[in-house]
Symmetry: C2
Subunit: 384 residues, 2 copies
């Protein structure tokens, strides 16, 4: 068993990119203060007693939760746990997306949880006004193959299009419409709320809650690992679950919240700016070049950096290593210390990171090739 005590010199705060200072973090603080999200580190000891926490958890990337203890309780007592995630097929799948899949794979392998992947093709069409065809093709050719290549076990995973599922799922959407008011949804999603957003929101509530139904396995808890911006859906789903406690076999979902990745350009990692992200299908050499061009937490001059040390907590390259490329805590700690002490400068660090990235992409893309034929066996696309 892993114990947190083995990481005494790894300052979790220092590994929290942009810790507690930027406006982003102020948003995170609001989540704690206003919405009842709890710091994840309060449940780390309990998780550690059970299994080794995932690196993203140990390193504070997963920073918050709701009712994670209930999830652990189900695992401990041998109950049935489900993990739910939604994916919005849009552009290329990149390392920002990978964080969620890594968690899914972890829960599946380590906790024996069943994973549900909702392809949000309805939201993509109705709210984001995307073309049906592009969305469906992007899910089938880009997202799902990458999910499988990242290690998701098709045997223990249900992957479905929101527009092509079973009647009990749609029944939930229909029934939920009775017990949610327009005013309540406006309070959560804003005033500008038409039929499309209402449909998308009720659909997401069904995504989150349907694994409780006997028809979908009768799970004892659903855990939803999300980026911090997705909390409104969780709040709605929790409220709805409470209202049906006497009528339908539903329960309050648990959730965890992770930080969003910083892009290599210093702002958010976004599908709309290719230089900001590393796509999982980027040719390794091209990805390496993006790393070499990236912003860092380095100082103005080499001399200054040797004296003051770098600032890994502000560095997208350090983030790449911490989130994705260095699974070993000791190795990551060494990099951190070498950086803050000025022993390693950005040039060398970037080169080493680029090597790690190339290696990862090469292996990933080999796996990708080997799973492509699996896709049609694991998900049934809608005909229109």
């Amino acid at each position: 068993m892993h114990s947190l005590n083995s990481l005494p010199v790894l300052p979790i705060v220092a590994l929290r990119i942009d810790p507690w200072s930027s406006t982003t973090i102020k948003e995170y603080e609001k989540l704690f203060a206003y919405f009842g999200i709890k710091p994840f580190n309060e449940v780390l000891p309990e998780l550690s007693e059970l299994v080794e926490p995932h690196p993203l958890m140990r390193r504070g990337v997963v920073f918050g939760h709701r009712d994670f203890r209930n999830f652990l309780q189900v695992i401990k007592s041998g109950g049935k746990a489900a993990i739910l995630t939604g994916l919005m097929p849009s552009g290329k799948m990149h390392l920002g997306h990978k964080m969620v899949i890594d968690q899914l794979v972890y829960y599946q392998k380590v906790m024996k949880a069943k994973v549900f992947v909702a392809i949000a093709d309805v939201e993509a069409y109705a709210v984001r006004k995307k073309s049906r065809k592009e969305v469906i093709e992007s899910a089938l050719n880009e997202y799902i193959p990458n999910y499988l290549a990242l290690g998701l076990d098709p045997e223990k995973t249900v992957i479905y299009f929101q527009s092509n599922y079973r009647p009990e799922y749609y029944r939930l959407i229909q029934l939920f419409s009775r017990k949610v008011t327009l005013a309540e949804m406006q309070a959560i999603y804003g005033q500008d709320l038409g039929p499309a957003k209402i449909m998308a929101a009720l659909t997401q509530a069904a995504d989150i809650l349907h694994p409780y139904l006997n028809e979908f396995g009768g799970h004892d808890i659903v855990l939803v690992p999300v980026g911090a911006d997705q909390d409104p859906h969780l709040r709605l789903a929790r409220d709805i679950a409470d209202r049906y406690s006497n009528d339908i076999r539903l329960g309050r979902p648990a959730s965890t919240y992770h930080r969003l990745m910083t892009g290599l350009t210093g702002d958010k990692m976004s599908s709309s700016r290719p230089d900001s992200y590393i796509a999982l299908t980027d040719p390794p050499e091209e990805a390496a070049k993006k790393v070499m061009r990236s912003l860092t937490g380095g100082r103005a001059t080499a001399e200054e950096q040797r004296k003051l040390g770098g600032e890994p907590q502000k560095c997208p390259i350090f983030e790449l290593n911490a989130y994705h490329l260095i699974p070993d805590d000791n190795e990551l700690r060494k990099l951190y210390e070498d950086c803050v002490s000025g022993r390693i400068l950005c040039g060398r660090c970037k080169k080493e990171t680029a090597e790690r990235l190339k290696e990862f992409l090469k292996e990933h893309q080999e796996r990708l090739n080997s799973v492509k034929d699996l896709v049609k066996e694991v998900v049934k696309p809608p005909a229109f």
Copy 2:
């Protein structure tokens, strides 16, 4: 072939209960003036060239239509026609409901059309706040058996619960949400429009339009026979169909509009007032008593009535005969003339009507017993 010319002395207007004078009829006139509904008698000649029109059509009970000519065109050219109706399981099924089924059976037998019956359990739950269990049981034990006993052919009928159908149907609901605005729905359904009503309205649009999809038979036209109060759903479905003309195989539905039955108490025939209706499962003797207690179009005294004649156009008993109990036009015309001339008074007329009704109910209830076991073969109820 039947020709309208064989009914020269049967004044259609006289057979229109409450013709063109009451507020109800003013509402009907509004339908013509504001909403583009056309008088049904303008298509009667074309229909008559093809087949014998249904008594409800010949007698002006079916009084309006949209695009009925397109429907006839499909029939003439050997295309695929679907008839769609929705049923709201609520209380006992009575003669007011029977009018729709009679039309379904007619289209099925005479026009070889496929019939779709949507059980509006979602609307019943979400908008009318009924209990799921009661709605489902009412559909299975009361409505569907009566539909079958009235002659609907299970082989040529699709009966489904809105909450228990196929994914392509739900996909329509989801996709429709993109192309309808809140303001537009408010213009049709009123300002007080929350998630439940929005869901019910989009669901009704999918009910109406789904038979166009290849997955449901790829019909060339859908015809919806409805009471005049149901037109908003048709308007929405037509607008939606137009917006998808490039994307999805949908079409503009045709529709017909029939008058609502007058209750035996003189107001609307309503499930909430047992004395106002004849239920299809009323014991025949009890139904006969309701007839004997009914309001009529009779005069204050027998003497006055012998002199002035009765007023069949105001008479729920005459309506019973015209809508349900006297299929033969000559026989009905004779009753009409005997009444307006004062040759028959209400006492005798009621007795004869009660006898006809008893006979009908006796036979119907025998058929009902023989079809009850069929129900579970023709419709799959939702488990919750």
